[in-house]
């Protein structure tokens, strides 16, 4: 039974964790934004910009972590544009987000063409290599699956823990959650809803950009135009699937990535010879829609998501 063999191999789960990593960064980023009450549809464009920024920074001579920092800062900057328009001005988050995705994507492609006018194949960088964690990486099955990943993958898991702890165990997290549930109560406490929401969107957008950078700096070692390919939209679905909770969203991202890894492997089996390859490529998107349908009844949406807050307005 081929399916059983695939699902019990450590290599399969190592691939699933690798595929999940960019999704985890971007899903955490979107989750932070939405918990504060802002839907960030700029995610797709921010991931494209992050993928390019991190890669080009390393190509220009920065160390790998310097590239990650550049990607994060580019994300923060793009998040700044989103948050100014969507928070104090309260413009439609749908329109601002789609506009930002168009802006970030086209600005990235423009910069690419300006910086590398003559190239037909983009240059490669020395990307993050797998780092075997001492002792843990030698555990049978779990070692190769979990502890022989690149540093950015470990960072993704650390990010989930940090986001989860911050949201539920710190005053800052309480303020962020309250900004997304009942902003009036936050304002009554003397806190600025505008500042909290803008901060959340900027930090969240930074995480999305690092998710993009994972693609060019860890999964691959180069930048391609259609690299992100809808992953941002999938992350929006993952936030809903995870019911706006970091732990559940992490589970969703890994589950999703496992299906993605599975469809790649199934293409090479007997099934792949019969079924057109496009059907396999559709699976991630179809799964996302199914996830949205399944969770639609149960999900606890932040009450003030997509509701602009204008102080003094009743």
């Amino acid at each position: 039974m081929e399916l059983f063999e695939i699902l019990t191999s450590a290599a399969f789960w190592a691939a699933a964790i690798r595929i999940a990593s960019p999704l985890i960064f971007a899903t955490m980023g979107e989750l932070i934004c939405e918990r504060a009450g802002v839907l960030n549809l700029g995610i797709e464009g921010i991931m494209v910009a992050g993928a390019f920024a991190g890669w080009i920074a390393v190509w220009a001579g920065l160390p790998l972590w310097g590239g990650v920092s550049v990607a994060f800062l580019v994300g923060v900057g793009l998040g700044g544009i989103h948050s100014i328009l969507s928070v104090p001005f309260g413009l439609s988050q749908h329109v601002v987000g789609i506009g930002l995705t168009l802006l970030a994507t086209s600005a990235t492609f423009y910069t690419y063409r300006v910086m590398l006018p003559e190239v037909s194949t983009p240059p490669k960088i020395d990307a993050f290599q797998p780092f075997h964690i001492p002792f843990l990486s030698e555990i049978p099955f779990f070692g190769p699956a979990l502890f022989q990943q690149t540093a950015l993958t470990y960072l993704a898991f650390i990010l989930v823990a940090v986001v989860s702890f911050t949201l539920y165990r710190t005053p800052l997290g309480l303020a962020v959650r309250a900004a997304g549930e009942s902003p009036a109560a936050v304002a009554a406490q003397g806190l600025s809803v505008t500042a909290i929401r803008m901060g959340a969107v900027m930090v969240g957008s930074g995480c999305m950009a690092v998710g993009g950078a994972f693609l060019t700096m860890s999964a691959f070692d180069s930048f391609f135009f259609d690299m992100v390919n809808g992953r941002g939209w999938i992350c929006i679905a993952l936030v809903v699937f995870g019911a706006w909770r970091p732990g559940k969203a992490l589970f969703g991202a890994i589950l999703f990535a496992a299906f993605d890894a599975l469809q790649i492997r199934l293409q090479q089996t007997g099934i792949g010879a019969v079924v057109p390859y496009q059907v396999f490529l559709m699976m991630p998107y179809i799964l996302s829609i199914i996830a949205l349908i399944v969770m639609s009844r149960r999900a606890e949406v932040p009450a003030a998501l997509m509701v602009p807050f204008n102080k003094g307005e009743r």
Binding site: L41, F89, L102, S106, F109, I236, L292
Partner: protein
């Protein structure tokens, strides 16, 4: 800061702010052109010349505007009712697939009958494609933004399968393209010898019809009421769910006409690069038109001119044509902000 509504915005305010938005866009485009080593005046001038400078350029702009009028209308209709249809790209291809199926010999009819049937069938396909996310929204509360976006990816893969399988042109030398349409299935040119087809006229007619629906019919009124405040509309006895579904059918149908017009009018066969993102650009068109059906025609011409002009500029001066996409995204963001500021004043706390 906080926003304070202005009771009666002056005409000066309503004209100055959008003009400032356009000025900001041109300023940013100039800066970017300079970064790429181009002289801003030459770049902007070449964009204008490339879009309007000759009969050929002008016709090219009108041709490019045609699908954008359709997708712009589709988005405008949907956004007015707060139905966030981001799936016009997939609906466009749904229309295109129907044309490629019916127009390559499957249906032997005289041209007028065949073209009418193809247009109606294309509209039904597009309408159905948006009906699914609309039903998911009204029945289960699934956000249509994400579902329509994901449908774009799914449907494009489906088209890719069709073009490598059932719809593949046996004479296509292995390229993933459909067979060519029969002469009866082609939209004729408006004037002999000029490269402008009847799809453009159809787009103008569609805009007029949508405007009439919008301004003169109960459905138009209901769609706007649902968009402004669904709860209040429900309270006033408007069947909100039905209105949303009707909006979806209209919007999906309009987007599919873009595919119909591109395949039957311009290209004559279906390929995977039929649309360079007309469905997404339609969002910019609709927003620049402030969701007004007649404004969509003007905005589509403006957007098409920038694209056609930027292509020509890129060939002549070498500044990447992605400058056009940046200009449009910037114009969109600046314009929504400008429109807001015509109605609200910014006050410090």
């Amino acid at each position: 800061m906080r926003l304070e509504p202005i009771a009666n915005p002056s005409l000066a305010r309503r004209l100055t702010l959008p003009a400032l938005a356009i000025a900001a866009t041109i300023l940013i485009a100039s800066l970017l052109a300079m970064i790429a080593g181009g002289n801003p005046m030459a770049v902007l001038g070449q964009i204008l010349v490339g879009a309007f400078g000759s009969k050929f350029a002008l016709l090219e702009t009108l041709n490019r505007a045609t699908p954008l009028i359709f997708t712009g209308l589709a988005i405008a209709v949907a956004f007015r009712a707060k139905l966030w249809n981001i799936g016009a790209e997939a609906q466009l291809y749904a229309g295109a697939v129907v044309v490629a199926v019916l127009g390559t010999g499957a249906l032997q009819l005289p041209a007028p009958a065949l073209l009418t049937i193809m247009a109606l069938a294309a509209m039904m396909a597009g309408a159905f494609l948006l009906l699914v996310p609309a039903l998911l929204k009204t029945r289960l509360g699934v956000d249509e933004v994400v579902t329509t976006l994901l449908f774009n990816f799914i449907f494009l893969l489906f088209v890719s399968y069709l073009l490598e399988g059932p719809l593949k042109d046996p004479m296509g030398m292995g390229w993933p393209k459909s067979a060519r349409l029969t002469p009866e299935a082609r939209l004729p040119r408006i004037v002999d010898g000029l490269r402008l087809h009847w799809g453009f006229a159809l787009a103008l007619i569609a805009a007029a019809i949508v405007w009439i629906i919008d301004a003169k019919t109960t459905l138009g009124f209901e769609m706007r009421a649902v968009g402004q405040n669904a709860e209040a509309a429900r309270f006033a006895g408007i069947p909100v769910t039905k209105v949303i579904l009707k909006t979806a059918l209209l919007s999906g149908g309009l987007a599919a006409l873009a595919g119909f017009s591109e395949v039957a009018g311009l290209k004559g066969s279906l390929t995977l690069d039929l649309s360079p993102g007309f469905g997404y650009t339609g969002i910019v068109v609709a927003m620049l038109a402030l969701l007004h059906p007649l404004g969509v025609v003007v905005a589509a011409l403006f957007v098409a001119a920038i694209f056609v002009g930027a292509d020509s500029m890129s060939r002549a001066i070498g500044v990447p044509s992605y400058l056009a996409d940046i200009m449009l995204a910037t114009a969109l963001l600046c314009m929504v902000l400008a429109i807001l500021l015509t109605k609200f004043r910014v006050r410090r706390d």
